[in-house]
């Protein structure tokens, strides 16, 4: 805060660096967010999450779209300030607030963000780019297990017999009806883009890494810039640029946390699906065995009583109980999947509130 100092070369180099970062960000961040967050279709039980997810995705997309725009706005401001100083008889006395767009922020009226600490005296404005990874669907194949479960009703041939004994027929109808019901539940619940849950989470993690990386690189560039631009007037710009770096940092941290939760919950769903698959895969064999027992009992129940009927009854009784327990367990696991999805909603709601603020902050760059 000593005297006035302005180095046009530093302005040129800083603008070039911010421009590079903006170009790379425009090429990577928004398309990655749009493809993996905004365009995710959900479906089935995932629809418990979809409304909240869409709200968050919209805010993240706004922030992603505004991210390079903010850097370009800084460059525009630097150009305007350079023009003002160049055309002035006393550059030290110029008030840059006439040209420096605040980008919609309520800037702190006092305090020095001390961005210089992030840079250096030399003309080193930093190099390289923030990480720009494409999201993966995880190292587990959730879609395979979902497809297996959804294919079960078609892949398993279970007889639909007609027994002479109405009591036996009624037992079979009850069990067969339960099988059809659980198949219907599974189809309804698991319809949807489950692979996309992890992928959306990974996209969030990537966006988080990108924003945090961009914050560090922007800070470095701005730090060096403010080594070469000092005085009361530059304080205004410094606070503004600091705010931008902070928004990148905070947005990155928030969305990275949310992304980790998505991925963890996606893995939880995968584990539950594996268990459901195990239960449902075992059921058809038991049903075929039940059919055989009922068929044998049916043959023995008419026209003459058989001493073996009692043993057959005990077997039928036990097998029906095993099957009912299997149906119940599979249904409980489906309900558990719903609870896992709902647990993500809480995380999304909290991230959405924060991102509404970030995207509001970043929107200022578009005005």
């Amino acid at each position: 805060m000593g005297g006035f100092r302005w180095d046009p070369r530093a302005f040129t180099l800083a603008k070039a660096r911010f421009g590079e970062l903006a170009d790379q960000g425009a090429e990577y961040l928004y398309p990655m967010v749009r493809e993996n967050l905004v365009e995710w279709k959900a479906g089935g039980l995932l629809d418990l999450l979809v409304v909240h997810h869409k709200s968050l995705a919209k805010e993240v997309a706004v922030s992603a779209g505004c991210t390079p725009a903010m850097l370009r706005k800084i460059n525009q401001n630097l150009t305007d300030v350079a023009g003002l100083y160049t055309n002035s008889d006393n550059a030290a006395a110029e008030d840059i607030s006439k040209t420096w767009d605040t980008m919609g922020y309520e800037l702190p009226s006092s305090g020095d963000p001390d961005l210089e600490r992030s840079g250096g005296m030399a003309y080193d404005f930093g190099s390289g780019y923030p990480p720009s990874m494409q999201p993966s669907a995880g190292d587990f194949r959730i879609e395979d297990v979902v497809d297996t479960i959804l294919g079960l009703p078609k892949s398993v041939v279970i007889p639909d017999p007609s027994f002479k004994n109405p009591a036996l027929q009624s037992i079979w109808d009850g069990v067969f009806g339960s099988w059809l019901e659980i198949c219907g539940f599974a189809t309804e619940a698991l319809t949807g883009d489950w692979k996309g849950v992890y992928q959306a989470g990974d996209a969030m993690s990537n966006a988080g890494d990108y924003w945090q990386g961009l914050s560090a690189l922007s800070r470095r560039c701005a730090g060096t810039l403010f080594w070469h631009w000092d005085g009361d007037a530059s304080e205004f710009a410094e606070r503004s640029v600091t705010k931008i770096c902070d928004v990148y940092e905070d947005a990155g941290e928030t969305i990275a946390h949310c992304g980790e939760d998505y991925k963890t919950h996606a893995h939880g769903c995968y584990l539950l699906f594996t268990e459901i698959n195990g239960i449902l895969t075992a059921i058809p064999n038991d049903m075929i065995l039940l059919f055989e027992l009922l068929d044998r009992a049916d043959a023995k129940s008419v026209p003459t009583p058989s001493p073996d009927l009692l043993a057959a009854m005990a077997g039928i009784h036990r097998l029906v109980k095993i099957l009912l327990k299997g149906f119940k367990e599979a249904t409980e696991k489906l309900l558990k999947v719903a609870q896992v999805i709902e647990a993500i909603v809480g995380v999304v709601l909290s991230a959405c509130t924060l991102f509404t603020n970030y995207s509001n902050d970043m929107r200022g760059a578009l005005t």
Binding site: L45, L48, I182, A189, K321, K328, T331, E332, L335
Partner: protein
């Protein structure tokens, strides 16, 4: 139905239906458990020759208790044998009725199993062809010290 062509339903409604299905399965499992317990401990009693011969049979039809009162001392062996056989058959033939009553009263649900149990008991233990004795009744209280009580087996849990 595949993931591509399935119509998306209301997930909250699906959750409710899943919860209802779990509840139904629990009820059916409970009913089966109770039914199993009831059919294993059900007994039926009958008497013949105006109460001179009384028999109790278990759910599997096995004779559990046989009581002969003082009057049989004056009977011919053939008559004792005939009345005992008849009394046991009467008790066995009541098993289906008693089992269904117990199942429907206490277990409440899963009538196919109750029906099947009843049918099994009816087919295995049909009514005796002739009706020699008196009506069945609860007989234990009518027993006196001079009665001959034969307990033929330890408690039989059927299965």
């Amino acid at each position: 139905m595949t993931r591509e062509n399935c119509v998306t339903s209301d997930p909250d409604d699906l959750k409710r239906r899943l919860a209802a299905s779990i509840e139904r399965a629990e009820q059916r499992i409970r009913a089966l458990d109770e039914g199993e317990q009831i059919t294993s401990v059900v007994t039926a009693e009958a008497e013949a020759a105006d109460g001179a011969v009384r028999a109790t049979v278990t759910g599997s039809g096995r004779l559990h208790e046989l009581t002969l009162d003082e009057r049989v001392r004056h009977w011919a062996p053939e008559e004792i044998a005939r009345q005992v056989v008849h009394c046991v058959q009467r008790a066995q033939s009541r098993l289906a009725e008693v089992a269904v009553e117990s199942l429907t009263e206490r277990a409440g649900a899963d009538l196919p199993f109750a029906g099947l149990a009843a049918e099994r008991l009816r087919t295995e233990f049909p009514s005796p062809e002739s009706d020699i004795g008196a009506e069945p009744a609860h007989l234990a209280s009518r027993r006196n010290d001079n009665d001959i009580v034969v307990k033929l087996a330890t408690w039989d849990q059927d299965d």
